[in-house]
Amino acid sequence: MSNRPILSVNGVTKRFGGLVAVSDMSFDVGNHEMVGVIGPNGSGKTTMMNLISGALKPTSGRISMKGRRLSDLPAQKIAREGVGRTFQLVRLLPTLSVLENVMAGAVFGHRRRWGRDAEDFAHEMLERVGLEAMSQAPVSSLTYINQKRVELARVLAGEPKVLLLDEWLAGLNPTELETGIDLIHALRDEGRTVVLVEHVMDAIRSLCDRCVVMSSGAKIAEGTPDDVLSDREVIRAYLGDDDA
């Protein structure tokens, strides 16, 4: 990597009582990189996202962005530093309109837009994800892929420096999946820095520059998608010993 890392995870461990969910994880995310975090269910991927976004505090280790330490800040400060995330189960704001949902991302982020400026920017974001037509629709009437798009628009409205997508492609039917992958491609083409937690291997192969593989909370492989997906340890983690 020629550029200095934007996001640095160093020796991060998270314990819940006796359970070690994340064990001594270290990896870097460089500017404009799209890094995939993959691994079987229960390997600690979402916990890792929660640690980066501040929803959880690491038991030990350090997470920093552009040199600034993130790991002991509360979630709202981390968000204002420029870390944006989507949630595994979409979290929209039910009593607000679609437009207001997106504005929520723009108003309190590090750019602090308000009024007309925030509204216009929110409209732009909705256009970017292809939902401009639905800006006044009630949130409850949206299909699942559209709900995800609104959440993505909200995150983009915060103009994040690092984007965390937590299984954003999960639960989509094949048509929606195509649309979803195209959207993430577009994000990549914009040069965004993204950490992608995913199960959909095709997406990982086509989108990610690099992959980090987690199993039982620890990193078991790192490299390009092709390298990593043919690694014996990785195959063993996903499929068990017989197929390795």
Partner: protein
């Protein structure tokens, strides 16, 4: 000094019982039952009424009250609270709804009780003085303590050694996971709520033997039970017992050394300290 310790511990026994009732309702059924104090007063009223009109010993009333309170609470859960559980989209909304609903129920219960017995009620039962560890206290407090301990031990054994008890503990940990392993969560919740109410009513019957009550005192008990449950860690039986001891001792100390009118303020002081320094309770899991 010894007096305070002995008195305080005896009081803690009954407090622990009431808190266990609330623990089942809040920790398992996830209902913040603000009518808990009124159920206690109803139990007390039953003991009072049966003793003064029919000379039935409160110890017998304790047994009689169990099925009645169980059924009553079960009905409340089934018909008033289940609709709220079903319609709530989040734990937070359920909490708000159940607070308002049980608040309403508590007022309705107070209203009903006031029509039955508007004034204070107290009676003399087993109030002979006895000596424990050199300190003088009354027999009724001691017996109440013993019964509370017996029920507490029974509850602990049931929760930890029986299949149904384990199911209840599972629901307390996670309703989703319990459902996934085949536990009938609504049925267990209703059962826990009903059982919690029965235990609280028993506590009320026991308390009535040595404390004067009236229809409106329920809220003070609700508050204390809540403080104990939160201090001990929601859903934790051991924690509730320890917390009840702390509250019982502190309260008795304050009442004896400073002023009986400040017991609520003392409880609040403990509450504030817990909220500031250890909101998950002494034995609770730290929120992640």
């Amino acid at each position: 000094m010894l007096d305070i310790i002995v008195s305080g511990l005896l009081l803690s026994g009954t407090y622990a019982l009431v808190a266990m009732g609330l623990n089942l309702q809040y920790g398992v059924a996830r209902i913040m039952n603000l009518a808990n104090g009124e159920v206690l007063v109803l139990g007390a009223l039953a003991a009072f009424w049966l003793y003064t009109t029919a000379q039935i010993s409160p110890l017998l009333t304790v047994i009689l009250v169990i099925p009645v309170a169980f059924i009553g609470n079960w009905l409340i859960y089934r018909f008033l609270l289940t609709p709220l559980v079903r319609r709530s989209k989040s734990q937070g909304q359920l909490e708000v709804d159940s607070i308002l609903a049980t608040f309403g129920i508590s007022f309705v219960l107070i209203g009903i009780m006031v029509s039955i017995e508007g004034g204070f009620f107290a009676y003399k039962y087993l109030s002979e003085p006895i000596s424990i560890l050199g300190s003088t206290t009354s027999l009724n407090r001691f017996i109440a303590f013993l019964i509370a301990c017996a029920i507490g031990i029974g509850l602990y054994l049931w929760l930890n050694k029986t299949r149904s008890g384990v199911a209840v503990r599972a629901v307390a940990v996670s309703t989703e996971a319990s459902g996934l392993v085949g536990i009938n969560v609504p049925r267990v919740s209703a059962f826990a709520f009903a059982l919690g109410g029965a235990i609280t009513a028993v506590g009320g019957a026991l308390i009535s033997t040595f404390i004067t009550l009236d229809a409106s005192i329920g809220v003070v008990f609700t508050l204390k039970a809540l403080i104990i449950v939160i201090m001990g860690g929601v859903g934790d039986i051991r924690g509730a017992i320890v917390a009840a001891c702390i509250l019982g001792l502190v309260e008795t100390a304050v009442a004896t050394l400073i002023d009986p009118g400040l017991t609520l303020a003392a409880a609040y002081l403990i509450f504030i300290l817990i909220l500031l320094f250890r909101p998950q309770g002494l034995f609770g899991r730290a929120s992640t």
